[in-house]
Amino acid sequence: MFYLLQEGPAQTTSYFIAGYAVIFGVMALYLVSLIVRRRNLTQDLETLQELEKSQS
C-alpha cells in the first residue's frame, strides 16, 4: 500500500551532477598532467641532447 504514497523517484539531481563533475574533472586533470609532463620532458631531452652534442 505504501507504494501508492510514493511520489516518484527521489530528487537526487545535484548528486548526479556532482558525481559526473568528479568523474570528468579527475579524468581531465590526469590528461592535463600527462600533457604537461610530456612537454616538460621533451624540453629536458632537447636541452640534454644539445649539451651532449656540444660536449662531443
Binding site: G8, P9, A10, Q11, T12, T13, Y15, F16, A18, G19, Y20, V22, I23, V26, M27, Y30, L34, R37, R38, L41, T42, D44, L45, L48, Q49, L51, E52
Partner: protein, 232 residues
C-alpha cells in the same frame, strides 16, 4: 623524440567516440531508477572506474612478475603506468561512491568492509608511488616496484570479494546482496546494456591511457639515462 604511432592516434579517436556514446547512453538512454532517482546513474561510471582501478593493479602485478623474470625495464615502465592510472580511477570510484551514498545511505562515509578495503588498497598504491619517487637508482627502484606491485595486488581480490564475504551495506551488481545491503536494485535490459557498454568503454580508456603513460615513462627513462650520464 619518438613520433606518436598511427595506431595510437586511431585508438585515441575510438576512445573519444566510445566515451561520447557511453555518456549519451547514461544521460539519455538509461532509465531513471524508480527509487533512487538520477543519482543511480553515477553507478555506471562508478563501477567502470573501480573496474579500471583493479585492472590497472592487475597489469602492474603481471608487469612486476615479468620484470623480475626478464629484467627489462620497459616492464617497470608499464607497471608504473598501470599503477598511476589504477590509482586515479580508484580515487574516482571512491569519491563517486561517497556522492552516491549521501542520499542513499544518508552518510558520506561508513567504515563498511567494501569502503574500508578500497581505502586500504588506495593507500597501498599511493605509497607505491611515493616510495618509488624516493629511490634514485633505476634498477633498485624497478625491483622494489615489481615486488611491491605483486604483494600489493593481494588487496585487490580482498576488496572485490569484501562485499560478498563480509556483512556490508554496499550492494553487489553480480551476485546476491547481503541481507543488510542498501541501495541495491534489479537492472532492466536497458540498464544492463549501459552498464556493460560503460565497462567496455572504460577498458578501452584504460588501454589508451596506458599506452600514452607508458610512452611518457619511456621518455622519462631516456631523460634520466642522459642525466645519469652527465652526473657520472
Amino acid at each position: 623524440m619518438d613520433k606518436k604511432p598511427g595506431l595510437l592516434t586511431i585508438l585515441d579517436g575510438v576512445t573519444i567516440l566510445l566515451l561520447l556514446v557511453a555518456i549519451g547512453m547514461v544521460f539519455f538512454f538509461a532509465p531513471v531508477e524508480a527509487v533512487m532517482g538520477l543519482v543511480q546513474k553515477v553507478f555506471y561510471f562508478h563501477v567502470a572506474s573501480a573496474w579500471v582501478g583493479m585492472l590497472g593493479f592487475l597489469v602492474a602485478a603481471v608487469a612486476g612478475v615479468v620484470y623480475l623474470v626478464k629484467g627489462d625495464r620497459k616492464w617497470d615502465i608499464l607497471g608504473l603506468a598501470a599503477v598511476e592510472i589504477g590509482l586515479a580511477f580508484t580515487f574516482i570510484a571512491t569519491v563517486t561512491g561517497s556522492i552516491w551514498a549521501r542520499p542513499i545511505w544518508n552518510t558520506w562515509w561508513t567504515w563498511d568492509p567494501r569502503l574500508t578495503t578500497t581505502t586500504i588498497m588506495l593507500l597501498i598504491y599511493a605509497a607505491y608511488l611515493m616510495l618509488r619517487s624516493g629511490m634514485e637508482d633505476p634498477d633498485r627502484r624497478a625491483r622494489f616496484g615489481a615486488v611491491y606491485a605483486i604483494v600489493g595486488f593481494l588487496s585487490v581480490p580482498l576488496t572485490f570479494f569484501s562485499a560478498r564475504l563480509f556483512r556490508t551495506i554496499h550492494p553487489v551488481v553480480i551476485g546476491t546482496n547481503q541481507p543488510g545491503a542498501q541501495g541495491g536494485f534489479d537492472m532492466t535490459g536497458d540498464m544492463l546494456l549501459v552498464f556493460f557498454f560503460s565497462l567496455f568503454t572504460f577498458t578501452i580508456i584504460f588501454v589508451d591511457l596506458l599506452w600514452h603513460r607508458a610512452r611518457l615513462g619511456a621518455l622519462q627513462d631516456k631523460v634520466e639515462q642522459l642525466k645519469l650520464k652527465f652526473n657520472a
